[in-house]
Amino acid sequence: MNKTSAHAPDAADPATMTPAHARGTADPATTTPWENLVTAALLGTDRRTPPGHRPGRDAPVALLDAAAVEAVRRRAGLRPARAARRPDPAPEDPRSALPDAAARRLSMLLADRSSAIGGGRRGTAPDLMELLPQWLATANSRGYAAPPQMLPALLDAARGRTDLRPAALKFAGPRALWLARLNPDWRFALRATPGGGAALPGPEETARIQRLWQEGLFAERVALLAAIRAREPAAARELLAATWPTERAEDRLMFLDSLRTGLGPEDEPFLEQALSDRSRNVRATAAELLSALPGSALAARMADRAVACVAVDHTRSAATITVEAPHECDAGMERDGVVAKAPAGRGERSWWLGQLVESAPLGTWPGRLGGRTPREIVALPVADDWQSELHAAWCRAAVRQRDTEWSRALLGVPTAPEAGGPGAVSLAERAKLLGALDSVERAEWVAGFIGTHGLSEAFQLLGVCAVPWAATLGRAVVDALDIARDAGSYPWSFSGVMGLAERCLDPSEANRLDGLLAVPDEPEDASPGAGGYWAEAFQRLVTTLRLRAAMAAELGAA
């Protein structure tokens, strides 16, 4: 269809359907009767009358008469337009269809999306939007496909909340990517999916791998490397090594980072060579990766340095750890990734010590410190206020090396008084250390912590526990909430934990909460009205748990 200017008399309807008579004109050079009418109408009959009409007082009416006939003719003669190139069909989604009840639930969860914004008291109704991540995870684990007509709402939800994107896009499946290519609003879905949704080359497609690696965009190359690394770590390393010298520094850093997956002793030569990289960040990352390989030469060098700084002093009444921090940061240390310049406010010797100890294999210490177990080592007193520096470095090492025994030792007993307060090991470090324990032990530890120290410090620790919470942990949380209520404070002081409990407590615990739903008699020292708010908060908790049970049942995951 030709684009027409505002005053072009032959302008057809924007609908681009074709007026039939426009095709049937015998001589394309002559204008159609309709075009003549439009020209005359634009200029006015005082200036122009269409051919076959007489000027004068009645000319406008005659023009309108003729135009009415033509207008109806044009409309009555409209024909369909020529079809444009039809879109390629969306790829098949082999997953099974979502059960009806689950589809209805999803539409309700998505309908609540817009209302999630805005504060105010939460009342007793569950926060549906907060349940969406869990719903998506369950649906994904059951292998269901999203109903096609819900894809736009899903994509909109994922667009607004980046934390939802991975699960939402997985559930949305191949058709969502097909759709995202047609709507710029959903371009994020293409970025978030490796290769813009195009399938990555399989292991046998060597030529395609090489071409994509040589010619692909940066994001495509990162995705390719990650995919190959997950499948065949050595092949990814070789691919990277081949082009390593020609890569830009930022790219080298990103590529090196993808070796974190499937890191093993075979990677050492490559990483060792990266220690002499031009870029400081690349060197630091290579050193960090090597230090996570306890058998590496770098780990051994670091161990030698660290061991020289830490010893047991038997001359005192009780065995005590003494620390002699390094006096200088030599070139060898710098090459192994030690950062020479300390941040403002930190002494440089303790800064260097921390870096040496965190990079040394934890297995070094029992031999060095008199054959003691990690637990015994952690229990030893440390001379001259070095304890917090030393223990913090061991914590970082335990997290980096994912060492269960050291993590357990550093965490200590959850009921110990210092566990709750500001001790040698901060809450953030404890949360990380918990990550090295298995889920049962983790839950037990946090349950013990809450039993002794209450909920006020527990939020971060609860965040690393497996969902749904183990029974002991769930009961510890509920008991602590009950105690907080009896203490007369307002429930919103615990809204973070309440929110977590709504999402993480095992739905089968709902019945045990019935006793908490009533509004209790208010003790004299309680905050006014707190009892009612607590009852409301517990009602919401129970309702949310029941809703989660229903959601799981609808997805066949009860």
């Binding site: 000319a59 309108l64 207008a71 409309r75 003669g77 444009a84 009342g123 549906l128 096609p148 007509q149």
Partner: protein
């Protein structure tokens, strides 16, 4: 009553909401939390106590069993209708997770339900009303109608004069005159008691700013308005059907006095248009046996949702009576014999070429129609530059979407549903293009609302 087992979907419930705020508030209440003693009966009543901010909970009752559509009552002070409590209760019921148990109607709900059923019985016994409405004095009514016709004639004559002046001076000059000219003329037509003419005049005012091609559209609409004026001024010489069409287009009220057609009516689409002052709801029905397509109109003033609600994709057994006028699809819903139930029924469809031809033929009866209801079979939503079209899967022709339809969220539901494969689409086909309203996937699958 055949109410057992017929639960609505959340979408259907939410379509009852009078506005977006109620939809939100209602969805919040669609969970067991604030509700107690919620239940439903075999008679189609749903009830529950909803804890609000006050000490006594609100008593909410909804009657979904009545064939004439759901009815609500709630002790809350909200002026919204239905209120968020009624919506929340229906969502809870639709969710079907056992929060609404089957049981006996409680004492506090019983009087209202009994009252409704009693009135419904009386109405049924009284037979069809409608002809009895209006004035008891036929002579006075006739005189009033005459006076109104005279005023419309004066208005139509004046409008003819204005159109002639416009064409004499040229449309290009009118572009500069702007909106005010048309607003004033529209107000004159309101005074002349010709709301149909007034609405058309108001639309003329918006055309000069509607983008490229406006002179063509303005001339077309002026000419069709002229045609309507002339039709009114010479209505005595028109055939009866066309004369009735002209009367209805000018804005005279009619009565649905066509013979009642009993059928199983599939609800094809329901959508609202309008502004804060008046909401117009259009419901398209397809008769399974008669093959007829009927349009039900209902209105809601001042923020209230129009009372009639029929969830899309359901079928109801009912009588429908047509309004007068050739080519008019408007009808009134008469007696309903059963509440709407889910169905696998789909309307038969045509190709895009047949749809365009159908619009052309419809102009013979009513040249003022902007579009006709059509179901397209096996079409693929296809991007076409900045625009979209519905292309025949098996032929090389396509209907472009109307400009308005391109910007609605429904477009993306349609595209997602299709995934590049053919779908069945019901919508309105006219000179501006095609407006998709409802779609069905290939094979089996529920109707998907697009509006």
């Amino acid at each position: 009553m055949t109410q057992q087992g017929v639960r609505w979907t959340a979408d259907q419930v939410l379509s009852l909401a009078p506005d977006a705020a109620s939809r939100k508030a209602g969805s919040k209440l669609g969970a067991a939390g604030p509700w107690s003693e919620a239940g439903s009966s075999d008679g189609g009543a749903v009830w529950g106590l909803c804890k609000g901010s006050g000490s006594t909970p609100y008593r909410t009752v909804v009657d979904v069993g009545d064939a004439s559509g759901p009815a609500y009552t709630c002790s809350c002070p909200s002026r919204k209708f239905p209120c968020k409590h009624a919506l929340g209760l229906l969502l809870l019921w639709a969710g079907g997770d056992g929060a609404v148990s089957r049981g006996q109607e409680p004492d506090w709900a019983e009087p209202w339900l009994a009252g409704r059923r009693g009135r419904a019985e009386e109405q049924r016994a009284a037979g069809p009303e409608g002809s009895t409405s209006g004035s008891a004095d036929p002579e006075a009514a006739r005189r009033r109608a005459e006076r109104r016709a005279e005023r419309i004639t004066v208005g139509a004559t004046e409008l003819e004069q204005r159109l002639a002046d416009l064409l004499r001076g040229g449309l290009a000059a009118a572009e500069q005159a702007g909106y005010g000219l048309w607003e004033e003329t529209a107000a004159r037509m309101v005074d002349a008691q010709a709301p149909g003419l007034a609405a058309r005049v108001r639309e003329l005012g918006a055309i000069p700013s509607s983008g490229p091609g406006w002179p063509v559209r303005l001339l077309e609409e002026c000419a069709l308005l002229h045609l309507l004026d002339q039709g009114w001024l010479r209505r005595e010489r028109l055939p009866d059907g066309l004369a009735a069409t002209v009367r209805s287009r000018v804005g005279l009220p009619g009565t649905a006095d066509g013979p009642p057609v009993r059928d199983r009516w599939l609800v094809l689409a329901q959508y609202d248009t309008g502004d804060a002052k008046l909401i117009t709801r259009r419901i398209w029905l397809h008769g399974a046996e008669s093959g007829r397509t009927a349009l039900l109109l209902s209105y809601g003033a001042a923020g209230r949702a129009p009372e009639l609600t029929l969830p899309v994709g359901l079928v109801l057994e009912a009588e429908v009576s047509a309004y007068p006028g050739a080519g008019q699809r408007r009808a009134a819903l008469g007696e309903r014999f059963a509440p709407p139930v889910p169905t696998a029924l789909r309307p038969p469809g045509v190709t895009t070429a047949q749809a365009a031809a159908r619009y052309g033929e419809a102009l013979r009866d009513d040249p003022w129609q902007d579009s006709v209801p059509v179901t397209l079979d096996r079409v693929v939503p296809t991007p076409d530059g900045d625009s979209w079209q519905l292309a025949d899967a098996d032929e090389d022709s396509a209907l472009p979407l109307t400009p308005a339809a391109r910007t609605r969220p429904g477009l993306w539901r349609l595209v997602a549903l299709s995934g590049g494969a053919p779908v069945k689409v019901f919508g309105e086909c006219g000179h501006r293009g095609f407006t998709p309203l409802t779609a069905w996937p290939e094979g089996t699958g529920e109707a998907v609302r697009l509006c």
